[in-house]
Symmetry: C2
Subunit: 301 residues, 2 copies
């Protein structure tokens, strides 16, 4: 079982390389991250965008342009659409956002005729954190895409985090359904939904994991807290995956880790489309961008 990002890189180097397609991949951030990913041996890269802009960046950044496959599209929207066509045609395994806005990128993915979303699929978001104060990777959803997940969407989120854990070699991940308390308070929706989700795991309606909740964050991840509270749970103190009850709690968890702690490594991908989509922002460090590419490659079909 993989417990660090370093091990994800090792895993990828031992397998056939996945093909990353960067939509409007014409800026220094995208091209630098893509070249480093090639250097690390974790993906092959296709850039879809204006080849003159790409050539300029490569010259400035001293990157050998021949390491990329390039499809020359001078217009942003056409470049994005062609990048998605490549994925739909089986010519790419991972989509990555280039210089285009998140809005344009998302519209293209969600486009009914030419997009990437299978019928009835739920688009969601999976993040992975490596925190030096926890013994393994933490896989969580959804901090960025579904604002107020209903029960059906929480089932989808659960399946996504479980599938991510499996892609990282964890055959039976432990999933904590997070609430503000581990008391089964029937007046709190997060608690009620957590109980229902737990039972769905017990009944095999959600497969391939051990699930329990409601669990407050402390008992989900701290064996000491479990000991003090004398809680009996097959998940508490040892969670691999955290399913949060709303986007705010997931977002706050991820950003507490990234902003207020030292030595945390992180990655995030969008899931539910035909291929994992990397949606990193300019604010992400190069390391986070590479981790996200690696996560996408590890989970791509």
């Amino acid at each position: 079982m993989i417990t660090t990002f370093e091990q994800i890189y090792d895993l990828l180097r031992s397998k056939t390389k996945k093909r990353l397609v960067a939509a409007w991949g014409v800026d220094d951030h995208t091209i630098t991250a893509a070249s480093k990913a090639i250097e690390l041996g974790i993906v092959d890269v296709t850039l879809v965008g204006d080849s003159a802009m790409i050539a300029k960046v490569c010259e400035e950044e001293k990157i050998d342009m021949s390491i990329f496959t390039i499809f020359d599209y001078k217009e942003e929207l056409k470049a994005i659409a062609y990048a998605i066509d490549l994925i739909n045609a089986g010519e790419g395994d991972i989509l990555m956002k280039g210089l285009c806005s998140t809005d344009k990128y998302m519209r293209a993915i969600l486009n009914k005729e030419r997009g990437l979303l299978p019928p009835k699929a739920t688009l969601s978001h999976v993040s992975v954190l490596q925190n030096p104060n926890y013994k393994k990777l933490i896989i969580l959803g959804d901090m960025a895409v579904i604002p107020a997940p209903d029960l059906k969407q929480k089932v989808a989120i659960t399946n996504y985090v479980v599938n991510t854990a499996k892609a990282l070699g964890n055959t039976m991940p432990k999933v904590a359904f997070i609430a503000a308390t581990e008391q089964m308070l029937e007046g709190m929706l997060a608690c009620v939904d957590a109980a229902v989700l737990s039972k769905k795991c017990d009944r095999g309606e959600i497969k391939g994991c051990v699930g329990d909740g409601p669990l407050a964050l402390d008992v989900a991840i701290s064996p000491e807290a479990v000991e003090i509270k004398k809680l009996k749970s097959p998940v508490a103190g040892d969670a691999d995956c955290l399913v949060f009850p709303n986007i705010e709690s997931a977002n706050v968890f991820y950003k507490s880790n990234s902003q207020l702690m030292k030595g945390v490594k992180q990655a995030a991908i969008m899931v539910g489309a035909k291929a994992p989509c990397v949606l990193s922002s300019r604010a992400d460090s190069i390391e986070t961008k590479l981790n996200s590419i690696a996560l996408a490659a590890a989970t791509a079909k």
Copy 2:
């Protein structure tokens, strides 16, 4: 302005001591914390409970029993009620939970005839964190009492964190209304409420603070994130107080700090009653209990 717990202790030693009343204060946890608080010079302590039980603990823990004022009540419920009577009679400034269950403690506080809640008051919860990776104390609400605050309750929470900041010497605290994003997405309740709360601060309907939101956690506390996202805000990157949109996000923030980071100091009190109430659990360290007593003493009238 106070930026560390150590400075709160200094402040308390320079002022008239507040009187802490421990309801059913008969156990080693409560009595040890109370004796250390006296030793640190931050409060005077009255224990209401079975004097034989108190004597036994004092003997075992080698604590001089004469440092306490003791009211001998052999029955738990009567002890709790009398402790509250003392506060109502002006004989105590802070209530602290002893060995009694949270349930009994809360019922007594909420009791209509003999409790501590003023008419129409909103009971809430304020926490304070000292994180080595942030330049000052973080004051937040509500991680424990109001499950899904409506706008009126969010106003109350805001006033509580602002009053806490003022008690700690911050005359014009910066309040961040937290959401999953700083984009003003009208489909997300947390964003809409944050905008309304901000405007209430602008209009002086919420007084004595500078408020802004919606702010995601990263831009609330990280000047670097603000710089990268080119956000203009009088609060972003420098928040003193965080008002969370729901109990889960606040709870997750507090517990991420306490469980996944090293060197974090913390305190929590219940507010909205006639006196601040300390509601620490057996799981809290002695340091956290003392910090909570200090916070209560600093905010008590």
